[in-house]
């Protein structure tokens, strides 16, 4: 991301807007772009979802296989999350093994899902110590216009909630819905820009931001994960402000998610 340079004229323009309380696309500082979630697009996947946040598009597919558990959790399924920043999605993404941005993205989504324990991994055990379900969450970014963290977590959740465990294909009985708890973590990402805090940044904002904070919250508004990024800093007050805005927006995003997976 650092490689693409927004000409300084655009930076000055965005800064000026911010100082007047405005954003480049007219949104309020604490307002999300419109969000659209589609599920069940990929026939070959056990579950899939495409999330659009404004122009940003992320496609997530879930695949399952049967394999060995980890020795230290012999009765639990295995979860692996990967992210590909494929060159299709941005002139700045390069082919090749995942770089540090893709790795951070995958790990933040993975921790959000893993630590919140929404996947009942103990129900994905087939034979303790021998055979468990291996689950792959593959994050495929299709169009990069900022805020990949939130789009990727949302798409992962929507894909998970619409996934079927393909037991029949492996001759392990009938297919069944992936067992999930009902309180997924929803992440909201904000950036600091010319000392203002804006939520759900577009790429033009991300590229000139000083610092980024992603906060995942649950239904009750409790904090389930955080990740600060970029080389700027936050004051303590700024962090608190971001968390509060994330709790509020988290509820809205949760509504969007719930609607898409009920449909």
């Amino acid at each position: 991301m650092s490689s693409s340079v927004v000409p300084s004229i655009k930076k000055d323009f965005i800064y000026k807007l911010i100082s007047e309380g405005k954003r480049i696309d007219g949104r309020a500082f604490d307002e999300y772009r419109s969000i659209k979630i589609e599920t069940g697009l990929i026939r070959k996947a056990e579950g899939s979802a495409k999330v659009k946040i404004g122009n940003t598009q992320v496609l997530v597919g879930i695949k399952m296989d049967v394999g060995e558990p980890y020795p230290d959790s012999p009765d639990m399924g295995v979860l692996t999350t990967s992210a590909e920043l494929i060159p299709l999605a941005s002139p700045d993404f390069e082919a090749g093994p995942p770089g540090k941005e893709a790795i951070e993205l995958a790990r933040v989504v993975d921790r959000g899902i893993r630590e919140s324990e929404i996947i009942q991994l103990d129900k994905l055990c087939i034979e303790p110590g021998e055979k468990v379900w291996i689950m792959f969450i593959d994050i495929h970014v299709l169009d990069q216009d900022g805020n990949l963290f939130d789009a990727s977590l949302l798409a992962s959740l929507a894909a998970l909630y619409t996934s079927t465990v393909p037991a029949e294909r492996f001759e392990l009985g009938e297919n069944f819905k992936l067992p999930l708890s009902k309180d997924p973590p929803i992440s909201c990402t904000s950036v600091k820009l010319n000392n203002a805090i804006v939520i759900d940044p577009v790429l033009d904002e991300e590229e000139i931001a000083d610092a980024r904070l992603t906060v995942a919250t649950d239904k009750k508004g409790d904090i389930r994960a955080m990740q600060k990024g970029l080389s700027g800093s936050f004051t303590i007050e700024e962090v608190k402000k971001i968390i509060k805005a994330s709790i509020i927006n988290g509820k809205k995003l949760r509504e969007v998610l719930n609607k898409s997976i009920r449909g």
Binding site: L41, I42, R43, K44, A45, S48, N55, Q57, L59, G61, I62, K63, D65, S82, E84, I86, P87, L88, A89, S90, P91, A95, P97, P98, F136, D138, H140, L142, D143, Q144, D145, R169
Partner: protein
Amino acid sequence: MGMKKPEDVILFKNNKRIDGRKPDELRPIKIEAGVLYRADGSAYVEWGGNKILAAVYGPREALPKHIQDPRKAIVNARYNMAAFSVEDRKRPGPDRRSIEISKVISEALERVILTEQFPRASIDVNIEVLDADAGTRCAGLTAAGVALADAGIPMRDIPVACAAGKVEGKVILDLCKEEDNYGDADMPVAIAPLTDEILLLQMDGHLTYEEFEKALDLAIKGCHIVSELQKKALLKKYERVLEVE
């Protein structure tokens, strides 16, 4: 090819194929142009069970510099399968198959692009297979053709591809998965439709010379049908753009 056919699979009977098509009938195809925001040009193709996105970036400076060609643009197609696009999850990153397909598609596209207009540049064509049925390289090249046109890349012609093949001794158009697995021959063909020049040609299996002539003829006919769908998709995009403006 090459897989032993289970006994209960009947590929051809009463002039009907396993999925009900006639020998010279294409699977349902849907093409959309201009579907991505960041790409300079893009296209989405559904072709049978295939779902494929193509995005074009360029012409832009080829980097690192030592790959630049002072006489023309480099055409760099990258065919990639999403990890979840196939039954058994594919490990991310290029495998030998996708490297070969990227190579033959790059070569096919290079022929129609006016590369000499952009010395030292690269034109990058990203083809993402999101859901794979049989015939992804033809569908991918077809999507790439639309994405290139959508990006405004100067071309002699819009390239298009379609396969022909043989099942149970019968020459057919556009193989489906079962025909691909258990059939006798598969022959993907890409052409420049204005001249019928052949841009890509591969074949595996077993064809007599006469069957080859028939199959080539059929594949080119298929290409022309798909070519019309490409043009319609581009037209629709322009209409959409005009409406907005």
